[in-house]
Symmetry: C2
Subunit: 179 residues, 2 copies
């Protein structure tokens, strides 16, 4: 087998949930031995860093159940299977902050947990913002705030912002905008 590669020799779905499925696979390694691999299959997500003309960004505070904590993140959402990431990002931006934008730039993607999860998150930067009304789902609760991008960088460096996609979007945007 090719150096570093692994070949699937068995695969069993162990859990089919609402937002992901779990598979337990067996792989053949390059030394001929077998090993187990557990994989979360997820459709992926999109996040948007909305930057005003004064280099302020919109942040969202919401309760994150796995940590029983309120986190600080940029607007984001899950992709439906086959959905266009760019479109999903614009929709989430509008729903969570009420903003539309005239400039919309792709900042790249990230693998949150390449060891065991297929999720890919796409990042966009939105500029030329126009504010309107938030339009959250019935069961969605969050608070929006604006901070300067330089303050957001501090919040990443000092651990106030812990969400991975937000850390990356803030540090990438700051580098691009020379902040």
């Amino acid at each position: 087998m090719q150096h570093l590669h692994e070949k699937t020799i068995a695969s069993e779905v162990k859990y089919e949930g609402l937002i992901f499925t779990v598979a337990h696979d067996t792989v053949e390694l390059e030394n001929g031995k077998t090993a187990p691999r557990e994989v979360i299959n997820h459709n992926g997500g999109v996040c948007v860093i909305p930057v005003t003309e004064n280099n302020e960004i919109y942040l969202v505070r919401q309760f994150r159940y796995p940590f029983k904590e309120i986190t600080v993140e940029i607007p984001a959402g899950k992709l439906e299977k086959g959905e266009d990431p760019a479109e999903c990002g614009r929709r989430e931006l509008l729903e969570e902050t009420g903003c539309t934008c005239t400039e919309y730039t792709y900042l790249g993607k990230l693998y949150p947990i390449p060891a065991y999860d297929t999720e890919i998150i796409h990042i966009y930067m939105a500029k030329g913002l126009e504010s309107g009304a938030q339009s959250l789902d019935d069961d969605e609760f969050l608070e929006v705030e604006k901070v300067h991008l330089s303050k957001a960088v501090e919040m990443v460096m000092d651990g106030t912002i812990l969400d991975a996609k937000t850390q990356i979007a803030v540090l990438k945007a700051a580098r691009i905008l020379g902040i």
Copy 2:
């Protein structure tokens, strides 16, 4: 109920795996309605960005089964339950690169997927490196390379490095070291 908070009213373990378990919970929202929550429970991980006196860093290439791709990451590993993250990082650094270090700095933590996964990843920066022999597990295959931190930043910005913890560690280290 407190604004933004959610209260667990039922919890059922749906899958007990080797590296994580999956729970399906029901929560009460602040509007009194109920909603489902799926949670991956994971012990967390540690990653280390090893920086030489010339500001080169060690990167690791390995096959990541969920993507069937070879990714570029910094040395990292899973925490055992109750294990000290700092110690785990030093061990993984030694196993994967053969390096020990005299300076070891905490760069903070990240939540890779706060929407549905309890995993927390801790980041350390290792300096004052002394090289020795790699000591991988029997079934662990990876390749180590050294690149300048400024090149690693380019690899984050252009999408060559997609792993979230590596993107964050590289961008944080670059900011700290003025690169």
